[in-house]
Amino acid sequence: MRRLMRFAARLYPAAWRARYGEEFEALLEDIGPGWRDVWNVLGGALKMQITTWAWWKLVPALGLAGAIVMAVAAFTMQPRYESSAVIRVTPTVVRESPGQSLEQEMRDQVRHQAVAIQVRHQVVAMVVKAQDPTSLKDIIHDERLYPRGVGRGTIEDAVAQLQRDTRFVPSDGAQVLAVSFRYPDAIKAQRVIQKLIGLMMEGNIGGAVEGQTPSLVTVLDPASLPIKPVYPNWPFMIAIGLGAGALIGCLYSARSGWRVVLFSGAVGAPLTIGLAGLVWGRPLLHSHAPPVLAVGGCLLGLTVGSVVVLLRRRPLTG
């Protein structure tokens, strides 16, 4: 224990040890340290290091610490695999040969619109079937999904979770539909997608408009067996930890110039939104981008403000 305590005491900054080292060691000899004291000395050394470090040492150190914390967090998270499949919904309406007359062309256009509506109708019926709680309960039961329970542990909560973990992305005028499902087990994720495709086939038949034949459903990409997890995203999480740690280091080091830092942060948000608005125009305002831009601009402003304060205090060179 004493050896450990001496090691912990050596973690204090050199200048501090030169001034207090001897008397601190005398104190440690007097108290006969226990585990609580070891932690106390370790905490004291860390605090002393942080308060005495120059910003150019503190910012990368906290950035590194943030990256390590996020890497550990990512390591402890349960990985999630995503299986996906792509299907094409083709209407079974027989097209007439291109008409020569205006009347025939108009009839063709009306037919095209009817076909588009039919496809959308069919796709909606297919998705509704693939989200049907009764069918999903069967999948959860057969595949033994969510064994540890979700929410309050009811089957309804598990169904809601399965619905949240499933995504339907239509494209090409809803004729092509990508379906994906995320789950901690890659094989189960693939099997769920296979079953969902089966349900969608049933939905296609059940959802056909009376008097018409169902659309033709072609599986373009069958349910994939994922090899790499999509979550946790290691590079993203480590980058977030690095950035957050460095920002905290900047803000802490530049706390004496807090007015400049706060002003930069406050100006950063509207400035970023304004600049983005100039570049991308009106559509930007109707998207989800403004809140993200506001937060990003504010963080950028805080970073720039604190860097300005720090550079004015102690230039990197000279």
Binding site: Y20, A26, I31, G44
Partner: protein
Amino acid sequence: MSDPTLLVLASLADGEKHGYAVMEDVMRFAGVRLGPGTLYGAITRLEQRGWIRPVGGGDRRQPYALTAVGRTYLEAQVANLDRVLRTAMERLRPA
């Protein structure tokens, strides 16, 4: 009251003491055990602010004493605490 700097100042108010003696004294009058890291963190801050100073020497156990500024600060803090305590006591007294 668990602010280590105030506890150390209070301990040194009746005369100079070294680290271990401060630790024991604080434990006796406040029932708070200051860890070695916490104690020396407080001593470092107090010395930097000029509220305490090392006295004597020669021994590894370095004693510290209150400076005049430190005493003034402690008196102001104690007066504040006293006001808070008296108000609390009055308000707690049954009507």
